[in-house]
Symmetry: C2
Subunit: 120 residues, 2 copies
């Protein structure tokens, strides 16, 4: 069964009950997954308008431009959307570490058995 | 401020109110983002135990092994977890198209202005 949202060319994000979609950011050069966050309609519109990644901070309950305090903005090269339009894939050039810990990517640990180990 | 969940080596997933974390899957060879889905504790444990990606289907409200009906399983090469442990990055070799539409990736459209366009 084909529905327009899944295969058509109309932008029609499927926001959840909190008004959010999931956003995954990868590094344009390395391909590495840098972070996962959430966007509301305002954050998506700001990202499209400025080509800098904006998210909705669930902890601070406000629009958040990535790098607004750290300077580590994400310059957006491409924005893709998935089949059911509840997630976007942002391909970006990061100005610095994406993670608040100072790591290049938030995914700096791997699951090894029942524990974690460093990726590098 | 450093907290153990953010920087330590203890696996301690931060499940949301519905008992879920976000999972992003990339292709081990191409690096492409294939899909985004959700895992509960059972799905994460099954993925670790079998090295085949399992998720929690929110629409069907049950554990779901990717490819259980299509055969397009995801053979897991690496599982990484993010700083606050509410998302995992699965690096996998897909046996076939990841998307229910038959596309290799669920992210087969890009946002162009206010509409969508095909990636390829």
């Amino acid at each position: 069964m084909s529905i327009p949202r899944d295969t058509g060319l109309t932008l029609d994000p499927r926001y959840d009950a909190a008004g959010l979609i999931t956003a995954v950011v990868t590094d344009r050069t390395s391909g590495e997954v840098l972070m996962i966050a959430h966007m509301n309609a305002e954050a998506l519109a700001a990202t499209i308008a400025t080509s800098e990644a904006h998210f909705w901070s669930r902890s601070r309950n406000r629009l958040w431009k990535k790098g607004e305090s750290s300077g580590n903005v994400l310059s957006v090269s491409d924005i893709r959307i998935d089949c059911d339009q509840d997630a976007v894939w942002i391909i970006a050039d990061p100005a610095g570490p994406a993670c608040h810990t100072g790591a290049r990517s938030c995914f700096f640990r791997r699951i090894e058995g029942g524990a974690l180990g460093p990726v590098e």
